[in-house]
């Protein structure tokens, strides 16, 4: 009887030890998941073969946005204003995502977005601008945007755009 109780007790202790280890592993695993989420692990979307067009007249922003997309594995082209964005589509090119600045010479982002939608372009268009007044954002959205982000663009803001537009689903 005593031996039996010892056997049962030992078994229970082993079970408790295993549970503790299991729970410890779970907590550690969850911690790591949260840590990486907070650290903003950068997804690589090269396999998805997404393409993007950067529409911005500012050379600094062109370089940064081009590099941000590159970093995420998204092949991209760059144009300097809305008219060039329209022209590149007229030439037969098409993109999954367009990052559209608002203030540009010749044709601004609002005009370009409206024109692209009139042409039947169904690409996802995300407006990116330093202007964040409610009325201006509303006008930009109503032109045909799918999403909007305030500049300066960062990796996490770009990932947010991709998530909002269903290009990226975090595992």
């Amino acid at each position: 009887m005593i031996l039996f109780l010892c056997y049962i007790t030992t078994g229970l202790l082993l079970l408790i030890r295993d549970c503790n280890e299991f729970l410890s592993f779970c907590h550690k695993h969850i911690f790591l998941e949260v840590f990486f989420a907070m650290a903003g692990e950068v997804p690589n979307l090269a396999e998805s073969k997404l393409t993007a067009l950067v529409v911005d007249d500012n050379f600094v922003n062109q370089s940064i946005h081009h590099k941000l997309l590159d970093r995420l594995g998204i092949k991209n082209d760059v144009v300097c204003n809305g008219q060039e964005a329209v022209d590149v589509h007229c030439s037969g090119r098409n993109y999954d995502l367009i990052l559209m600045d608002m203030d540009m010479p010749i044709m601004n982002g609002i005009q370009a977005t409206k024109r692209l939608r009139e042409m039947g372009i169904e690409s996802k268009i995300a407006g990116v601008t330093t202007r964040a007044e409610e009325e201006e954002v509303k006008e930009f959205m109503e032109a045909g945007l799918n999403d909007f982000q305030e500049k300066p663009l960062t990796i996490s803001k770009l990932v947010s755009i991709l998530r909002n537009l269903d290009f990226y689903v975090q595992a």
């Binding site: 007249d57 922003n61 940064i64 330093t130 300066p152 990796i155």
Partner: protein, 154 residues
């Protein structure tokens, strides 16, 4: 011994960056730029900052020409130039330059010529300070890379 040289230079770089962040000259957007630098573009930060300098100097020259004209009245053009400066300064993390450009832009929106002239002087001052600091940073980085590249035979 050479390792100490690299360490000392790295410490100098860290000290300079800390100071620039502490003064509000740079903000976290500069760190974003550094994060984008990698093996495929090892001079990315240097390249982007130099594009910023080239573009900013053109804009500042244009602003000065506009405001020096006694018959100047094109405040809209001033606003457009300042939008560019605000945008690019934000994008590289040049917080103080960005902020003084915003103040300058407010003066231009009120068609306030004396305010614009003052604004331009402040922007030029902040811009040149930033440029000098960035040059110092790049020089230290260059020295660090050179020091790290020297090897004693083992």
């Amino acid at each position: 011994m050479l390792g100490l040289g690299v360490d000392r230079l790295q410490a100098d770089i860290n000290r300079l960056l800390t100071s620039l962040f502490h003064q509000g000259v740079l903000d976290e957007q500069f760190l974003q730029l550094q994060q984008l630098q990698d093996d495929t573009s090892p001079t990315f930060v240097y390249d982007v900052i130099n594009i910023y300098f080239d573009e900013s100097e053109k804009l500042l020259r244009s602003l000065r020409l506009l405001l020096m004209d006694r018959e100047f009245s094109d405040y809209k053009k001033i606003g457009l130039h300042l939008n560019q400066l605000v945008g690019s300064s934000s994008s590289i993390g040049a917080r103080r330059v960005r902020n003084v450009c915003v103040a300058f832009r407010s003066a231009s929106e009120l068609n306030n010529r004396p305010g614009c002239l003052r604004g331009l002087e402040v922007v030029e001052h902040e811009y040149h300070y930033l440029k000098n600091m960035m040059h110092e940073l790049f020089q230290l980085e260059q020295q660090r890379l050179l020091a790290a590249g020297v090897r004693y035979p083992m």
